[in-house]
Symmetry: C2
Subunit: 475 residues, 2 copies
């Protein structure tokens, strides 16, 4: 460690106390590795402040020393955004207080280190729903959800993290604090600073707290699993549901035949939901705030007509919460069981909803043309146009040999997405893993605007440097 | 006109054609005056480009000459944001094409000069709803709606302009074009540029087109006019409706006794909706996407219980579209009839919904303590916490003498709003009229961030200079 770095660690230890600054290899190991093992970073120290003012102290000291700061929440991100390459890891985990819950305003004010599940539970205890719902909800933290503008299965009805957030508290690159913790539905007093920090992956400021929206907890719920002849048929069905069920429609998830088959193969106790196999499946959920709403009847009517019209080949409607959970489990275990089928090359993309079926079919054909035995597993948030377009390796192929095609498949899939005016990162963010890919597809003027903003808010380039934007210099 | 200015006007005329550059006093007069006559500006010329590329030409020429550009849409803004003080007025009115309507994606792509009503009509013709709804919808233009993040009566259910927008096309200060016209529900590829331009009142870039969200057109609708003993009772009623009616609740507007009385006094044909007078009135609307939804029964049940519990003193529920329109007309004519009661001092503020009743009562008492005969007309978008806290002059007082108290009443009302962590501009923006007021109430770090952003995106300070942020220098 250089003398300057030693001085920084000593200064942080002096100001925050010994227990808040970790430097031992065994203490910091968990902060250096990324959840899927794709990256391993290095850091001078891991700093664990207890509150907003201590976060400000960390930024003041790091700004003075010109040393990078990499913020971390639950370290569950999928794009390497929390991996340090030198400098300080700033863990927000101890900022885990729920500061306020205002039932009449329908808002909850939480610190960045709160685990998502804890926020959901606090809302539920007050009779409200905090709708953000992700696979990692038991360990991911609100600060990370904000930094990556997290999505998940409830976006169709409630929006992503950006749309669930009313106010923020942020520590800036120089250690100043912006107090934007307002719980207002309307506020047109100047530029929208809030949305600049949300989704910026810790590169523009460190979010320490947020005011989030709550919703009436649904009192009625019905889930259906439907089999369709194609993604195009599923899209027509989605259009009908959106038109006729309106905001009762809270989820429309998609799975291909291959996806359901590997879930049934690997997941103990999983039960085939429909008698026959179908090319495409939809998982549909309707909810309502009033218990006596006849959602079952509504869904039966819509699906009945869709069956007659040939949009749906078969459908199972849940008759109980347990059945509903069983159907959801089929969808939710897909990521996990895919691992058991060998290597996979993944894409988290979005296209306009009108083109989602066309995208699935076009991209599948293109990938199969490249490698005939590749197994396309395109699933996800169909109603948002967000598909996890994953490729499972051919049976019997060497895993490493398959993964060597990563770049080529990225190019094939992302070119198709780009041609449809889509997004190469729908909900996971850019981080490290898509940083250079972004330069290939993002509007050059947009990239240049991003660099301008980065320079304006972090002139020393110490906030999570090298993530999202590779170079902060104009091009 | 200086030689340099003459050269600029000549260059613009040469590049856009004579018909697109107006300089005659009589031709440009309408662009110099603000809708309420509060300001009168001056300009070298009014330029009326026909498309995005011509807008880019205007910015290139003005950037080269270092001459300010003031964008204008329908010129219906209420804060002086479109008033020029020298330089060029850039009218977007001729960019009035609807470029695309994608029914499956539920989006419409429109140019900045489209009149709001034309966008509503185009959506409706395709069986969709574009929900933004304002008093000026027949003349305001989408570019202005975006620049001011317009609100209105449908925000409770559908959000403001920001939440209705998926993508933008923007011409930057140096004439470059950012093509962000994507119709995606999810896109986490870098910083949120879109929300930076929305609500920036033309000071960071010139929006030339947008992709907007459409919704299923409601097929069932019911409206009610309720009388309550106080704003607090109305707030309790609102909480019940939100919980029990969920997203069927599309509006909860508020009027005080004084407001209804002046509407009945001045509006020809207006009919008293309830037998008795009440301290506070709520205008409630429920809608649903399916025609056979029993909204009337749902609303009767909720209001019936509220009557029993004393939250509501009386209620009238519409039995037809005509009755519904009659109830809405009472609310919608309030701004207009207030003019007939003499001078008024206006505030467009928001507080957390939980404090909206407390705000109305506290601010009314404080203003009445200042001037016992002042007539408080606090009305508006109660369900958003957004109140138009207007003061009508005492009967018989000289109008100018009353308006001389503007500053003092601003201070009283805005101090109370600020104390409740509210906003001094909920939906109208800052422009000129609240620019200096903003400095009194906005977090200083936020103001400094705004200045940094302004310098980063408009280093020459030629985009609507002097609006929103008074000085672009750090403080």
């Amino acid at each position: 460690m250089t003398a300057q770095n030693t001085a920084l660690v000593e200064a942080l230890t002096a100001r925050l106390g010994e227990g808040s600054v970790l430097t031992l290899g065994s203490d910091i190991e968990g902060y250096l590795v990324e959840t899927r093992g794709l990256y391993r970073g290095e850091a001078l120290a891991v700093v664990r402040p207890r509150d907003r003012d201590e976060v400000a102290v960390v930024l003041q000291e790091c700004a003075r020393a010109g040393v990078p700061v990499v913020p971390q929440g639950g370290n569950t991100g999928l794009v390497g955004g929390g991996v340090p390459s030198g400098g300080i890891v700033l863990s927000l985990a101890r900022l885990d207080r729920i500061r306020d819950l205002d039932p009449v305003n329908a808002t909850i004010t939480v610190e960045a280190g709160c685990i998502l599940k804890a926020v959901q539970d606090a809302a539920s205890a007050a009779g409200y729903l905090f709708p953000l719902s992700l696979a990692s909800e038991g360990s991911c933290r609100i600060g990370g959800n904000l930094a990556t503008n997290a999505g998940g299965t409830a976006v169709l009805r409630y929006g992503n993290m950006r749309e669930l957030t009313l106010g923020l508290e942020v520590v800036l690159a120089d250690g100043r604090i912006w107090d934007g913790l307002k719980g207002l539905r309307k506020d047109n007093t100047g530029y929208d600073l809030k949305n600049l920090f949300i989704g910026s992956e810790g590169t523009l400021g460190i979010i320490t707290a947020a005011v989030l929206k709550l919703f009436p907890e649904p009192k009625a719920r019905v889930t259906a699993f439907v089999g369709c002849a194609s993604a195009h048929a599923a899209l027509q069905l989605f259009g009908r549901l959106r038109e006729q069920a309106g905001d009762h429609l809270t989820a429309f998830e998609y799975m291909p035949d291959f996806g359901l088959e590997i879930v049934l193969k690997h997941r103990p106790g999983a039960v085939r939901p429909l008698a026959e196999r179908h090319a495409a499946y939809g998982l549909i959920e309707l909810t309502a705030p009033q218990q006596d709403t006849d959602l079952q009847g509504q869904l039966e009517a819509i699906l009945g007509t869709a069956l007659e019209d040939g949009l749906v080949q078969d459908a199972a409607i849940s008759a109980s919460d347990a059945q509903s959970q069983g159907l959801w489990a089929l969808r939710e275990s897909l990521s996990e069981v895919q691992r058991l089928e060998g290597g996979s090359i993944k894409h988290d993309v979005a296209v306009p909803v009108s083109r989602v079926a066309e995208f699935i079919e076009t991209a599948a054909r293109a990938c199969e043309a490249q490698m005939p035995d590749v197994r396309v597993c395109a699933f996800g948030h169909f109603g948002d146009g967000n598909i996890h377009f994953n490729l499972s390796q051919p049976v019997g192929m060497d895993k490493a040999a398959f993964l060597a095609h990563w770049e080529r498949f990225n190019r094939i899939v992302h070119d198709i997405v780009h041609g449809m005016n889509g997004s190469i990162s729908a909900e996971h963010g850019i981080g490290l893993i898509k940083r250079d890919e972004l330069v290939l597809y993002k509007d050059p003027v947009a990239l240049d605007l991003m660099r301008s903003l980065k320079r304006a808010l972090d002139p020393q380039n110490i906030l999570n440097p090298g993530k999202v934007v590779a170079s902060v210099l104009p091009q």
